[in-house]
């Protein structure tokens, strides 16, 4: 029996052209942890059947494919994370200077994700970012993205015996009427201990084809998706709190100016933000899981801690005074002459304090522990905007059917 070290697993991602058309992920991103799971919402069949036991069967409920991915927010990986959550309005720059990607609240891209466990991979497709949390843990920026997806393929079972040279197989439909959704030409399946490379994925959603292969397997035998051999690009450092500046001012432009220099920035001992899409994920007729994943009302918040100097922040909280916040996190130099750097800029055009606490703890300095609600600024016609400078080619973030 084989045993597998989790450290050898991988996360791979790729944007899709269409939310319902998966692709084979090609971008490998270092992963801290993941919790993406299929939840069939099984419940006991509670119909009256003459039993004095709770039930003799389970029934399927509304199926969900959801969970969290946790990564260190290095600028290259962060580009894909932001692409999942927000709308990329454009990219400028070039490979030498770095690429400048602009994101605004809106429909993010649907992605195909792949997570491996040992020799086996789970393909999650039609994935969107529902909530993105950015915070700093031990100086390092950590991105925790809550994912919802339309479907997944990990394992399925044979609907018919296989014997001798065969060129196709059919999956059972116990899990879904379309169990092969998620598979693509070029994927390798493991069936009966034999590997086959897919040459076709039938529109019937349960038949796949491959080159003539001698296979011996029985009805109900499991079929697995083979994991890829991970090939990572150059590892990048995460963005650090120590290299981040936070400006707080009456207007967004003033906050951005304040965040431009250490002398004018506000030293913060803690900073975290949540960017939420509140995705609609209800099933509809024709779909056992979410029919579509659409943004509903968007929201965001910021939490930070800074030294208490006087009750000014308390006054701003009581009188719900507008404050704008800008975070600028700078990374490594990109251009060889040191004139451009990796950089994440998040602008909250209008925030107001939802909570402001000044706790007294024995032996501790007094802090303003604050939670801001990010609001829509009618004057700027914006709530949040994000700019990311990194080395990610724009076509990596653009959906492509080629895999």
């Amino acid at each position: 029996m084989s045993n597998y070290l989790a450290d050898r697993s991988y996360l791979a991602v790729k944007p899709q052209t269409d939310p319902a058309i998966p692709v084979i992920p090609t971008k490998f991103i270092p992963l801290i942890s993941e919790s993406i799971r299929v939840n069939p919402n099984f419940t006991a069949d509670r119909r009256l059947k003459g039993l004095d036991w709770k039930s003799d069967e389970l029934l399927k409920g509304a199926r969900m494919v959801e969970g969290d991915l946790v990564i260190y927010a290095d600028p290259d990986a962060l580009a894909h994370i932001l692409n999942l959550v927000y709308n990329r309005t454009g990219t400028t720059g070039n490979a030498a200077d770095g690429y400048v990607h602009s994101f605004v609240p809106g429909e993010g891209k649907s992605y195909s994700l792949e997570i491996s466990r040992g020799n086996y991979a789970q393909r999650i497709w039609g994935a969107r970012g529902d909530n993105l949390k950015l915070d700093f843990q031990d100086n390092k920026m950590v991105a925790t993205i809550s994912i919802k997806a339309l479907g997944q393929f990990y394992t399925a079972s044979l609907a018919a015996n296989l014997s001798g040279s065969v060129t196709s197989l059919v999956f059972k439909t116990d899990y879904d009427l379309r169990p092969s959704d998620g598979l693509k030409i070029g994927d390798i399946l493991i069936v009966g201990g034999v590997e086959v490379t897919l040459t076709s994925v039938n529109v019937d959603g349960k038949t796949v084809g491959f080159g003539a292969t001698s296979i011996t397997a029985s009805i109900g035998d499991p079929v697995f998706l083979k994991a890829q051999t991970p090939a990572f690009g150059t590892a990048r450092e995460p963005l650090y709190l120590g290299n981040s500046l936070i400006g707080v001012a009456a207007t967004s432009s003033a906050a951005t100016t304040a965040a431009g220099a250490k002398a004018t920035a506000t030293p913060c001992y803690n900073f975290s933000t949540n960017l939420k899409n509140n995705l609609l994920d209800a099933p509809a007729s024709g779909s056992s899981g979410p029919a579509v994943l659409l943004n509903q009302v968007k929201e965001a918040d910021v939490e930070l801690s800074r030294f208490f100097e006087d009750p000014t922040q308390y006054q701003k909280w009581l009188e719900f005074v507008k404050q704008a916040i800008t975070l600028i996190a700078t990374g490594r130099f990109i251009k060889s002459d040191f004139t451009t750097s990796e950089k994440l800029t998040i602008k909250y055009h209008k925030t107001k304090l939802a909570t402001n606490e000044e706790p007294l703890d024995v032996g501790q300095y007094i802090f303003d522990k604050q939670k801001f609600e990010a609001l829509y600024d009618s004057g700027d016609a914006k709530a949040v905007e994000i700019e990311l400078i990194d080395r990610v080619y724009p076509d990596e973030l653009s959906p492509s059917e080629s895999s």
């Binding site: 994991a227 051999t229 090939a231 150059t234």
Partner: protein, 67 residues
């Protein structure tokens, strides 16, 4: 099996090392990665194509002394 890196970035392949975009390398049959596509026979993989260059003596014309 010869495969080419079809991505636009240098990828670190286990047991092989960095493979640049467009570079052809010899990989085991078990290697499975969507960034790498099989290339037709006759294409020279990286190891064989990087032949050691031998230094040749520069050609110079003998100067004629005109007296």
């Amino acid at each position: 099996m010869k495969k080419i890196n079809t991505s636009n970035e240098t990828l670190i392949v286990p047991g092989v090392g960095p493979v640049e975009p467009g570079e052809v390398v010899e990989l085991p049959a078990s290697f499975h990665n969507a960034n790498f596509k099989e290339v037709p026979k006759g294409v020279i993989p990286r190891a064989a194509s990087r032949k050691k260059k031998t230094k040749s003596k520069p050609k110079t014309k003998a100067k004629k002394n005109h007296e």
